[in-house]
Symmetry: C2
Subunit: 316 residues, 2 copies
């Protein structure tokens, strides 16, 4: 077991090594902006899903480190653009790209990174990988536009939330796992199983991200607590808290979103008091369990166990 | 000849018809933003290059209307992001996307459109088309970042200018013509000829665009005159005017860029007085002539004549 954990950490190290030592683009300004984002941290969960999916389908993970890295880079490119979109001042505990490089460079750096990834993917990976990744990027953007237009909409339902989370977050986890399965030559059943695992894992992951915005402290999170709330995002703890139909709470949220000076701490406390935190934990456990259930068709083995452990880690 | 002109205008109409009647995406907000950009006009030169390249290589242009349309849509996506990047208030005479929809939606709409194009291109066109287009998008962004970092740099040389224009503008014209030649099954020599035509045409096109910012009136241009200058862009008329090494002029430009209240009309007049306009017309003629020369390997015919006429039109 120590050996196996060691192996997983080696794969992680190889991806990190690629980012530090090999990743470069033709544009030094963009390379620096991307390397700073990468150096600021991140759990590299998307590459990990790709490499574990390769292994679960009997492939050699070390042959697909670049493909795995591209999954993280798609995520980084969306973060660079999110920083512009959200006017976020910090990201992963360091200044956002947009703060240090300006909005103009951030927009172009994100565009360049998307194009650079597709340039490399189309050069090195056969169909359907380039199509899966471009369709996924379209879904991410679609989901982000939907989220943007749901800002401050107190009528947002859990189903609407899940539909947005599937697109903006879960689609990339699904693609990361699916692409690993495809390049490893997995059967159609195993490709579907890993896609489904990634999608359900991604929904649970987004819910946990929402939860941490309510419950974590800003040092641990690397960004301000209540940041989502301040941006009037309809997060799952808020939606579930509102589903109790407490008029006083609803009025408080409306007042906070209206910028009347209602303190954010009061709203955060009320979300917990209205059961939003507990209900969110329940939803995360449900989606995490569904993710593990999707793994059933895969043969037993270390990769399957580790994917299951990733799902379990969301509810610890 | 009337019939032939009629045929070209029919192809143009078919592309327009696709944009008006068939173009749609999964996201209605983004579809509306893109359709507004398209309805505001544009000469559709990039699709025209694709379709003429198809014909020059003996193909049926009507079979490649969607591919041609994607060339315009890549351009539109970069314009949507330029609006964010440049804080442009108007574009093609109507409000910029960023003004009506907000910066956040503009960033996402441009991203979505890029992804949507690649999703469709990877689904419908074989290698190397998806790779050519993603590599081109990387070049465009690279060129725009270079331009951004050259803003207000009075030492920018003509060679540096051409290197930036090749990337940010000419690369898409080159790809538009090249992809038309490839899908029509053109020989390697003809594919190269059309790529080279597109690239040289694109450099001349960018120089004309720069010239119009100095000489046109704002109604004809659909955007404010002197807009480039106000953004401290190192345009070719300015670079060529500065190459005379007139200290008084250089000081005026420096003062204008420094925001000292120097009137823009004075700088625009001085660019002309320093020979910047005349020298730019000479450069455009040179690049336009080089573009026509690139067509030599192609068989004689209507398509070749029309490509030549497009190059000629830049110097009228």
């Amino acid at each position: 077991m120590i050996h196996e954990l060691g192996e997983e950490s080696t794969l992680h190290d190889l991806v990190e090594h690629y980012f530090r030592a090999s990743f470069t683009t033709e544009n030094p300004i963009i390379t620096e902006a991307v390397k700073r984002m990468l150096a600021a941290g991140g759990k590299r969960l998307r590459p990990r899903l790709t490499l574990l999916a390769v292994q679960a389908c009997g492939g050699d993970a070390t042959s697909y480190l670049h493909l795995a890295a591209y999954m993280e880079l798609i995520h980084v490119a969306t973060l660079i653009h999110d920083d512009v979109v959200d006017n976020a001042a910090t990201r992963r505990g360091v200044n956002a790209t947009a703060i240090d490089f300006g909005n103009r460079t951030s927009v172009l750096a994100g565009d360049y990174l998307f194009a650079w990834i597709f340039k490399n993917v189309t050069a090195n990976y056969p169909a359907p990988i380039p199509h899966v990744l471009s369709a996924t990027l379209a879904e991410i953007c679609d989901g982000e536009v939907l989220q943007l237009h749901a800002l401050g909409n107190l009528g947002t339902t859990v189903d609407e939330y899940v539909a947005m989370a599937r697109k903006k977050t879960a689609s990339l986890f699904a693609a990361a796992a699916e692409c690993g399965a495809i390049v490893a030559g997995g059967s159609a059943e195993h490709v579907t199983a890993l896609h489904t695992f990634g999608e359900r894992y991604g929904v649970a992951f987004q819910m946990l991200d929402d939860l941490l915005d309510v419950t974590a402290d800003s040092d641990a999170l690397g960004k301000p607590v209540g940041n989502d709330l301040a941006e009037r995002k309809m997060t799952i703890p808020l939606i579930l808290a509102l589903s109790r139909n407490d008029d006083a709470f609803r009025n408080d949220v409306r007042a906070f979103f209206g910028g009347t000076g209602m303190p954010i701490a009061r709203v955060l406390e009320a979300i917990e008091r209205q059961g939003g935190v507990t209900a969110t934990r329940r939803e995360i456990a449900r989606w995490s369990g569904e993710a593990k259930r999707a793994l059933q068709p895969l043969p037993p083995g270390t990769a399957k166990e580790r994917l299951g452990a990733l799902a379990d880690a969301l509810i610890e």
